[in-house]
Subunit: 186 residues, 2 copies
Amino acid sequence: MSVNVLALCGSLRAASLNAMLLRACARLAQPGIGITIFDGMGRLPLFNPDLDEHPPEPVGELRTAVEGSRALLIASPEYAHGVSGTIKNALDWLVSFPPFVGLPVAVLNASPRARHAREALIETLATMSATVVTEACIAVPLLGAGLDEERILQTPRLADDLRRALSHLAAASGRTGVPPPQFPVR
Amino acid sequence: MSVNVLALCGSLRAASLNAMLLRACARLAQPGIGITIFDGMGRLPLFNPDLDEHPPEPVGELRTAVEGSRALLIASPEYAHGVSGTIKNALDWLVSFPPFVGLPVAVLNASPRARHAREALIETLATMSATVVTEACIAVPLLGAGLDEERILQTPRLADDLRRALSHLAAASGRTGVPPPQFPVR
């Protein structure tokens, strides 16, 4: 049975390195791992706690996608030493969503110099009771490297690192011992 | 001449404590300080770098409001140990906007237990070359206090603290020696 992994990209830029990285992952994933890139990030409304229980349609699509997945793969840029509003907004809609609890998550970092956003994202994911899979959270030095999707696939070191990260993520999805729900106070 | 202060609220909840705090500030501000709460936060699209130069209308409204202001006042909640997507999204649209450089900013914290979001917000504002006015960044213990807008105005300790913070913010808007533009690499 294939492990369904949902991929979220925190940039809406057409030529986003993070989106490219996720597309490369989807192509190089080993048999038994299926990666679906969520295509509705840009359609999500800004989070409104008043709508959390009966959210607008794109939020329903996101939640359905999360519910149907065994793991999450995130690639997101750093803007002004912070997470992108886009990725945080998507996560804000998932804070009180029970299927998120215990979900194995990997955070890929396409710009290894950027550490603020990576650390903030991992803090938030841990606070949301996701299972951050440390071995699957790797830096992929794409910024300034001039690589495109094909070149990532053809660079053995990168492709191997990414496959290894995906293996760790998939393995974590089979783990038991999921922590009990623990929602942060709003 | 009155000092125009633009206020941004990072929560879209109708009963938001942060929105209440900003409304209270607008009412208690001393003569010579005029606070305008930006009412378009929820209409801002998610940040897209491809649209940064010719942004959608609500972004233009935000930028015009920033350009017409001498200082910025921010009140924003913490969600899952992170900044709200809503406030970060607004700031993402202002990263490359020159009038933001050197703009004095105060961050109010309505939930003093929440320190992650406050610290991340201040790091981002400093990276955007705003002038974070430390003396104006105060904690206002509203969470769980059961205060409404009227009660804030009628509680001398709170009202005095807020007036003092606004004085510091307004004073900073008269400072010279604005640092040169320094945009983070995208």
